[in-house]
């Protein structure tokens, strides 16, 4: 398993393909690099050098008790990019859900490291306590997937099939949920996150593509976000919050069109 030391901790990374560098950032709690690995990443890797990583405390990266705020997550990513050959300069950045907020934060903190930016169905701070509470309560990933996909029949059926695991997988998910709720600052970090600074957003001179799901609970955020950025546009795809899993080919189509401009 490829681990890279960055920001004083170990991050699990996967690299696919060759070409212009693009890094993909998964969402918090229910995400890990598997969000991309079977759908979006291999398609993008036909023409690009794709870097995937598990954020701190997620997937196969080192466990973490704290540091789930945007500033720390952005600093983690910057350290990681410094440590990966071919990613030391300006790269394309694609973030899903909370990863989209991390992508924006990185672009504001380190504009020289970001060429173009894709924000996929990201909620933005201040996070709605009810949304966060629901996420923490339903932190069992499969339940959450089913919840978010209720409006999307095909995905919903699929998620129900996934949800049958009550043995090994169920036990591990329960362990992880308990750890996240009781053993980390993830909820507190999310709730303490201040709104993105409108002044910094309006000064962000990088092209931004906002891709949101037609039935996603975060759909309304897209237009507000784009309105606050100097060079942003919105694309709506048919689907819910988990676009990279629901329609990876469509996601790649719009992302590549944007990155190729």
């Amino acid at each position: 398993m490829p681990l890279i030391a960055a920001a004083g901790r170990a991050f699990h990374v996967q690299r696919l393909g060759s070409g212009a560098p693009v890094v993909l950032i998964h969402g918090l709690v229910i995400g890990n690099l598997a969000t991309w690995f079977f759908g979006v990443a291999p398609r993008l890797a036909r023409r690009r050098s794709v870097l995937l990583y598990d954020q701190r405390g997620h997937g196969l990266s080192a466990p973490a008790d704290s540091g789930f705020d945007l500033a720390t997550s952005s600093a983690d990513l910057r350290s990681l990019l410094d440590a990966v050959e071919g990613f030391e300069g300006s790269v394309d950045v694609v973030g899903h859900s909370y990863g989209g907020a991390v992508a924006l934060q990185l672009a504001m903190d380190e504009p020289d490291r970001v060429r173009r930016l894709v924000v996929l169905d990201a909620p933005l701070p201040p996070f709605d306590p009810a949304e966060v509470a629901a996420m923490m309560e339903e932190v069992d990933a499969e339940q959450l997937e089913r919840l978010l996909a209720l409006d999307h029949q095909q995905f919903s059926d699929l998620a129900s099939k996934l949800a049958v695991g009550r043995g090994r997988r169920g036990a591990r998910r329960a362990d992880r949920a308990r750890h996240l709720r009781e053993g980390t600052t993830v909820t507190a970090d999310l709730m303490a996150e201040p709104p993105l600074d409108p002044g910094r957003l309006s000064a962000l001179d990088r092209p931004v593509l906002c891709v949101y799901g037609s039935t996603s609970p975060f759909r309304d955020r897209a237009d507000d976000l784009a309105a606050g950025l100097p060079d942003a546009r919105v694309i709506e795809l048919i689907g819910g919050h988990l676009l990279p899993l629901e329609c990876p080919a469509e996601v790649v189509r719009v992302v590549e069109e944007f990155l190729d401009e």
């Binding site: 398993m1 598997a34 690995f37 079977f38 759908g39």
Partner: protein
């Protein structure tokens, strides 16, 4: 005895870990989803190990051509057959 199946068994046990050793033997009919309950991140680890073991196998690309539903329903035998056709 299928050699590829033996290799795959070893890789699966490696990924799943001894504490979750499956109480049933892994056969060509064993499903990654409903029998082994492999999590997606474990599937990543499995793909990586197979890629390292079989240079000619482009496991990730093979998976990327499938729908999520097909991946979930994959059986051990499907992977064995794919690996054997690559060699």
């Amino acid at each position: 005895m299928n050699e590829t199946l033996d290799v795959l068994r070893g890789v699966i046990e490696d990924v799943v870990g001894p504490e979750w050793a499956v109480d049933r033997p892994i056969t060509m009919e064993t499903s990654f989803g409903s029998d082994l309950e492999l999590e997606s991140i474990e599937f990543v680890a499995l793909a990586e190990k197979l890629q390292a073991r079989y240079e000619k196998v482009d496991f990730v690309r093979w998976l990327s051509e499938k729908e999520l539903e097909e991946i979930i329903e994959l059986k051990v035998g499907d992977v064995v057959t794919y690996i054997d056709t690559c060699r």
